[in-house]
Symmetry: C2
Subunit: 450 residues, 2 copies
Amino acid sequence: MSASAGAVAGAFGTRCYNPALMPAPLVVQKFGGSSVAGADRIRRVARRIARERAAGSDLVVVVSAMGDTTDELLALAAAITDEPDSRELDVLLSTGEHQSATLLSMALHALGVPAISLTGAQAGIQTDGRYGKARIANVDPARVHDEIAAGKVVIVAGFQGQSAADIDKAETTTLGRGGSDTTAVALAARLGADRCQVFTDVKGIYTADPRIVTDARQLSVIGYEEMLELAHQGAQVMQVRAVELGWVNDVVIEVLSSFEDAPGTLIEEDPLVEQRNKVRGLAHDRNVAKITLVAVPDRPGVAYAIFAPLADAGINVDMIVQNVGHGGSTDQSFTVNRSDLARAKRIIEPIVRELGFQEMTTDSAVAKVSIVGAGIHNAPGYAARMFGTLADAGVNIEMISTSEVRITCIIAEDDVETAVRALHSAFELEKPDAVDATSGAGPGRAARAG
Amino acid sequence: MSASAGAVAGAFGTRCYNPALMPAPLVVQKFGGSSVAGADRIRRVARRIARERAAGSDLVVVVSAMGDTTDELLALAAAITDEPDSRELDVLLSTGEHQSATLLSMALHALGVPAISLTGAQAGIQTDGRYGKARIANVDPARVHDEIAAGKVVIVAGFQGQSAADIDKAETTTLGRGGSDTTAVALAARLGADRCQVFTDVKGIYTADPRIVTDARQLSVIGYEEMLELAHQGAQVMQVRAVELGWVNDVVIEVLSSFEDAPGTLIEEDPLVEQRNKVRGLAHDRNVAKITLVAVPDRPGVAYAIFAPLADAGINVDMIVQNVGHGGSTDQSFTVNRSDLARAKRIIEPIVRELGFQEMTTDSAVAKVSIVGAGIHNAPGYAARMFGTLADAGVNIEMISTSEVRITCIIAEDDVETAVRALHSAFELEKPDAVDATSGAGPGRAARAG
């Protein structure tokens, strides 16, 4: 896997390990947009990479676009047309990561560290070709291997791939928001990396949003499934798809801060799940709107008539609640992303008329709050304690949904902070749990990530 | 070369010509950075392209980066490091043209015009692989042909190519400043285009800079050689390499304004050169510095010792004047781009010491002023009239050089405007000449370009 250390010049050029004794560990690191926002931060990231390399690692580094670049490019496209062509938009957006990747490579060169930037296509990220939301179909790491073997730190533009291996047919595709996490985990899986580190602007995964709960506690370890539920339910730190990909491929992901040298949170298969049986964290999400269809005819095919057109339009329907029918009709409520509400209404209105519903009402001042923990669904008392805590805090529950590891309530948006604080305290999340007590921090912990 | 007009939808979708009667003419258009600076200008360019297409043309459109994008990207790189890696810099800079190309394509889609953006690599622009100053080695227009045949306007990111046809080895290379002109002319040559139009922020080629000479006149036609000399001597409108490429491949280039619908200037082989024998235009250039080596040993090999290291460093030496030797030594003066002066001094200083020159002096407050016209070198009186005019205007001449179609004087920078105005008047450039009288404007002129 490595590397002619002797040929390398400059302050960070010499590496401590002895390649004759053991192969260099391969580390995949991902730096998000805030970590590379501006020249100073890019140089700081470069110094961190140089230290890791000097300690003996081979490195593949995935970067997002700098700061608000993606939003600025979207705004440029929006200034041209309301509905930008999806192929062209993907090429446009991919330039953001090309820029950050080249700048980081330059910063490494300036430190005397051999480096090369690769586009997603050059790094062999092959996708299924769906613009704006491509899935990774395959990773062909030949060029990445070659560059590592040549002693270089390989910088890969995240968030993007190409739709075919043949350049004559290949089109640039992007993986959707947060796609750089997915790029990093996919590369770590394919390369058999020893570590996969996702650097962000927070220190790791917390029991709740620390901006709301002052004694929210950083978790040292969290299971894939718990992390998936937290991410689904609004925790912004990790992309759902990246966690899924890590789970399927058994990639241990470490989430940590790019701004300080502190241990982060490991996302990994959690052997203690069965015994633990405890709430691990809270999530909340304000990007929610509720749609209620009043007096829906209670006959087969109606749900399909409503939800199929929404799915066709790419609108994700989250919670669905149907009241018990009375007199041949029922009330149906469901939630969508708040940003999809206007589009969802336009799609449903003609269906409402056609199927003869009484009316459609919408509420965009709602939010989700969830408790997450492996095993809580089958254990008694968690749901009751959640509902009781919210009632005691004066928070009304509008809808409820559950999964194996999660209970979610829809509440008024104004009640979010009250609800999160009350639940954090009720489930004693400020106290370290067994997992944290056994795993601890420091070198022992870092070794577990390997 | 064309085109399923019937399949095309939208306001500009229908095309006027009848493909059964004749093939659509193929037009290559190039829009510079100021023409695509911002969403409004990009939409204006799209409307112009849509009109051309509605009139029946197949179109290949080459774009530069928007406005100051290239300078902003250079500033980003400079904020990272003083000496950015040249490979990474080329990838970084190429994103500017990717962005403008995709935005222009989106704007055409919004008008109902089928369009597709291609990177330089996708458009088959293959280069010799020299970063930052690549030459075009070949153009493989297969994909461009395919997209035209599919009825699309093809938008090509200018200024860039790739160093090999094989994606595993291909590296992005840029063609140097103004390289988009070269991209356009190379594509026009390879595609056998009927017209090659370069849209800029001026109306065409003028007898002198209209910001200095109020009665400067736009030329309707200029020969390749004259245009080359004007460009070499400081006229900024067209890139020298693009004019050379047009000359070699017999591509008629039309320079015209992207902001108004007015005839521009045709650059073409000029059959009237022999008869005309007249000054056609003036150029001036302030990007000049003079270096004088005093008391240079007058022996073989000295010039090589001075100029070879400058050439190796990529510093272009323009005018060289060597005074008659006296007592075994001579004085040598030469000019370089002002931006290269500091580097040139660093290179020459050790040579000065080694070869035992008396001293090196430099002057960066000089400028070049040139008269250009085919045949003037061999005709009597032009040089004399130029020198006399400058003397009458109180302008001192420091150095002189000539070519077949040009006489250039180095003068003090402060005298540039005085000199240009005096020469414009002395050579009666405000009066239309025979070429302009016979070619005229309007439809007849446009036909000549075909």
